[in-house]
């Protein structure tokens, strides 16, 4: 009998997640309710830095419907410890405690000072409004460079400094290389603060069963497993076994839902204290203050090169804004970029150092790309500066510096072992896709005519490391947890499959992608496979979703568990067919006897036998069920070439993206439609980072960009369609050959856009462009280059 099912890996299987999402039947955290539940509302500090002189919750208790209200001090005895950071990057890291509510001092606008519980959302809001909190304002620290100077005002007075840590990395003889290199370019860039702004604000429902002492937290998170262990062990001091964490449908994350939050901590404690379920939904105006911000680095990068532009050394110094406290992985975010300030280029020496600094701003943490967009921005801007210095074309300078092309591992100057890569391949394809020659011709024509609207072309030939991560590497970087992930697969007696996975999606389509892998491995139709995730009770083993790891770590665990299913099924099939295991051939779900292909057993048949257990071979346990935990040996390294063409109106400063080509190599592709969706979404997010989005504080530390209109998340009419293509160079890190695609777009695109803006204006003498490249900034840069007052 021929194989029934065609292979589905590599095909555009329609997402099985979608019917409930498209019809509005999907349930997100804010859609949930429990009988008798109370609504929780936090009172947030309006000040960026102040001593709390008093918090009086008694007026709130007079508001009809309000059931309870607490200030920070009222709950101080509840905490086993502060909200911890899981990434203490150095031994001497300064890590001031942050508790769910402030007690004595607030250090950023939006820090919680009190909490109100009420019978309705409206009553909770009225109650929060009635709380009287009094403050004594303190000096506000905002500027990172000022904050590091002697005698600076302090965010945490008792630390005596605003510096949290300095982390360094050196490969090769950096000083010698810089002393002898004929060309050194030194650049300074500011990567402005971003607000992740997932469309679903964070929300949760906390429940407590007093008789059993059991807590259930349903929360809009990317990391249910990490939330469980951290809340139980460090914040609440309860047995981990008594806390179940569920992530229902989650409306986008981009890193902003990698957190263990004050709200989660408070809701669990208050559910226990009141004996009633507690619901909290962050409204947008508090979400932009309380959900972490991101990026916010000042970068100095130096390249040492030969006269022809061949790079010999890299030297980077960063200041990274931690905000007011260290969050879960905040201090580690710059380290995720630390190895990538050389891009996909060669060289013999590399130095990186980063100082994390406290300011009176919302704390920062991961946001799509986390550390790697910043690194890519620096090197892709700097290599253009080098090209200008040595008089080379941006394409040429990249080609001459690419790492050796290889299907197998190659060391990089940053100290990584890159799994595989053919950098000219993606660049060639991108040049063609964008219509490079035609664009250059148009650029020349417009320059000759002196048109008001000029064209620029910008490149980003990026590489990133993702698939976080080999546990031993995380350990050497002082990350507190491992980087493995897990899957358990059960073939039901009816031949259907349930897969329990430890990664936890928020829009990526894991259920579809993993079903495709399993369908090929087990010969079971995609529709007969159920993927269960986001529940620590059902899928207890997992490290969750961030760092483009779900496929390259979680997906590999799924594949390995399927291999074990086949291994066990082979024993049962051989026994039933009365042949040795070696006499069986296995192709997608079917064992047949070599030379007698009609004598066969399918996986569903074996699953039924394994369930009845009437006739199992010696030593084989009932049930067709297997698990795998996969810890990668190396990262995976997606790379690619993005080319952006912009039109800049030299009279108004307006920048429009004319064309954008993204050619990525993300290794083996399981579902091209899902991959393209990730690329398009990421690229547009990165274009927005380059052109529109910036979190702005005034001099008092008040967040000015506190809504979705003044923080400019782009609408459909603000952004272009992009051209997308791929090359496929399988990863050598894992047997699926997959690399990961969740973050490539935001990593690659900002420098392509800014390089294009600079290129459009280079004939006017513009060499630098701050981001976001708003019309005002662009116009000023033009005036400055012209020597006018700017």
């Amino acid at each position: 009998m021929a194989q029934t099912a065609e292979r589905v890996v590599g095909t555009e299987v329609r997402r099985k997640e979608d019917p409930e999402l498209i019809t509005g039947q999907a349930r997100y955290s804010d859609d949930l309710a429990a009988p008798g539940m109370l609504w929780m509302k936090l009172v947030l500090s309006p000040f960026a830095h102040a001593r709390i002189t008093s918090v009086d919750v008694s007026p709130a208790l007079q508001v009809p419907g309000v059931v309870a209200a607490f200030g920070g001090r009222d709950l101080a005895g509840e905490w086993a410890g502060p909200l911890p950071t899981a990434w203490p990057v150095t031994d001497d890291l300064k890590n001031p405690p942050m508790y769910p509510l402030a007690t004595d001092e607030v250090r950023f606008q939006g820090e919680g000072v009190a909490v109100v519980l009420a019978e309705s959302r409206a009553a909770a809001e009225d109650g929060a409004e009635a709380v009287v909190a009094e403050y004594d304002p303190l000096p506000v620290v905002l500027d990172m460079e000022e904050a590091l100077k002697d005698g600076a005002d302090l965010v945490h007075a008792d630390l005596g400094t605003n510096a949290s840590y300095t982390w360094t990395l050196t490969n090769g003889d950096v000083d010698a290389v810089f002393a002898t290199a004929p060309v050194v370019v030194k650049e300074r860039y500011v990567v402005q603060r971003q607000i992740p702004a997932a469309m679903e604000p964070r929300a949760l429902l906390a429940e407590y069963a007093p008789a059993m002492g059991e807590y259930t937290l349903t929360t809009s998170t990317q990391i249910p497993h990490i939330v469980r262990v951290v809340l139980a062990a460090f914040v609440l001091g309860i047995p981990e076994s008594k806390l179940r964490v569920r992530a229902p449908n989650v409306g986008g994350g981009f890193g902003s839902k990698i957190r263990v939050s004050p709200e989660e901590s408070l809701a669990l404690v208050l559910a226990r204290r009141t004996g009633r379920p507690v619901k909290w939904t962050g409204d947008r105006s508090s979400d932009v203050l309380t959900t972490h911000h991101a990026r916010d680095q000042i970068q100095e990068i130096e390249l040492a090169a030969d006269e022809d532009g061949r790079i010999r050394g890299y030297r980077t110094r960063l200041i990274a804004n931690m905000g007011a406290y260290l969050l879960l992985v905040g201090p580690g975010v710059p380290l995720l970029g630390a190895f990538l300030f050389c891009g996909p280029y060669g060289g013999e020496a590399y130095h990186f150092e980063c100082t994390g600094v406290f300011t009176n701003t919302t704390p920062t943490d991961a946001y799509r790309g986390a550390g790697r967009p910043e690194a890519t921005y620096a090197i892709e801007r700097a290599i253009d500066a080098l090209a200008r210095r040595v008089g080379r074309d941006p394409v040429e300078i990249r080609r001459m510096n690419f790492l050796p092309e290889s299907d197998g591992p190659i060391p990089s100057p940053g100290g990584l072992t890159v799994d595989s890569g053919h950098y000219n391949g993606t660049l060639d394809k991108a040049l063609e896709l964008v219509g490079y020659e035609e664009l250059r011709a148009e650029q020349r024509a417009r320059r000759e005519r002196g048109d008001a609207k000029q064209i620029g072309i910008g490149f980003s030939t990026y590489i990133e490391m993702c698939g976080l991560a080999p546990s031993r590497v995380l350990g050497s970087l002082k990350y507190a947890a491992g980087g493995w992930d897990a899957a358990r697969i059960r073939v039901l007696p009816t031949g259907k499959v349930t897969a329990f996975v430890g990664v936890s999606p928020h829009g990526q389509g894991h259920a579809t992608t993993f079903s495709q892998i399993l369908s090929d491995d087990l010969g079971i139709p995609v529709d007969d496979i159920e993927v269960v995730h986001g529940d620590t009770a059902l899928a207890p083993l997992g490290m969750d979703t961030y760092g483009s790891r779900s496929l390259s770590v979680g997906g590999v665990a799924v594949h390995r568990a399927a291999d074990r299913i086949v291994e066990k099924a082979r024993k049962i099939a051989a026994h039933e067919l009365e042949v040795s295991e070696d006499d069986l051939e296995y192709v997608r779900g079917r064992f047949s006897v070599k030379g007698a292909p009609d004598r066969a057993r399918t996986i569903p048949e074996v699953a039924f036998s394994a369930w009845t257990a009437h006739n199992l071979p010696e030593g084989v346990e009932p049930e067709l069920d297997a698990s795998a935990v996969y810890d990668p040996e190396n990262f995976v390294y997606p790379y690619g070439a993005h080319i952006c063409a912009v039109e800049v109106d030299t009279e108004t400063g307006q920048v429009d993206v004319l064309r954008y080509a993204a050619v990525d190599d993300v290794g083996t592709i399981i579902n091209p439609q899902i991959v393209d969706g990730q690329v398009a979404g990421g690229v547009i997010q990165g274009i927005a980072e380059a052109l529109f989005e910036e979190a702005v504080y005034d001099e008092n530390g008040d967040l000015l960009t506190s809504s979705l209109t003044n923080y400019e998340v782009p609408a459909a009419s603000d952004v272009p369609s992009i051209r997308i293509d791929k090359t496929v160079t399988p990863s050598t890190t894992n047997e699926l050959g997959v690399k990961g695609v969740g973050e490539t777009g935001t990593i690659a695109s900002p420098p392509a856009v800014i390089n294009a803006v600079v290129d459009a204006l280079s004939h006017l003498g513009v060499t630098e462009m701050a981001r976001p490249a708003t019309p005002e900034r662009v116009w000023r840069a033009i005036q400055q280059a012209k020597g006018g007052a700017a």
Binding site: A680, A715, A716
Partner: protein, 156 residues
Amino acid sequence: MLVRTRVNGEWREADVWPGASLLSMLRDDLGLLGTKNACEQGECGSCSAWLDGEVVCSCLVLAAQAEGREVRTVEDLADGDRLHPVQQAFLDAGAVQCGFCTPGMVVAATDLLERDPDPSDEAVREALSGNLCRCTGYQKIVDAVRLAASRAGGGA
């Protein structure tokens, strides 16, 4: 206060506080949770619904304003387990990621195609400009709307 509204073809009653929005009436009182709340400030379109045939941000409309009027929500589009053609096009084009913006997007897209059966890409982007999506970059959403248009016989 008591508000009587015809919702998805059925007369419904809700006892709301005078300041309650149509969005909160739909979600909290009528259990129609498909209409989403991402900002409550009229900035994102995730709460899009029809009021007397016109798409509104239901977070900006008072429940009281819906008294005696006709409201239609995303729940009205599919027919049992048969998706509305616009929903089917979203599924086929891969226009959904986290799905949080999707109900509002589908409402806005359906409304556009009811008015303009063959919109250009620019017209689609313009018509959807009140609906924010953070996941998709809009590309496949535009593809989906064009796909729905072409299936309905409008243009290419």
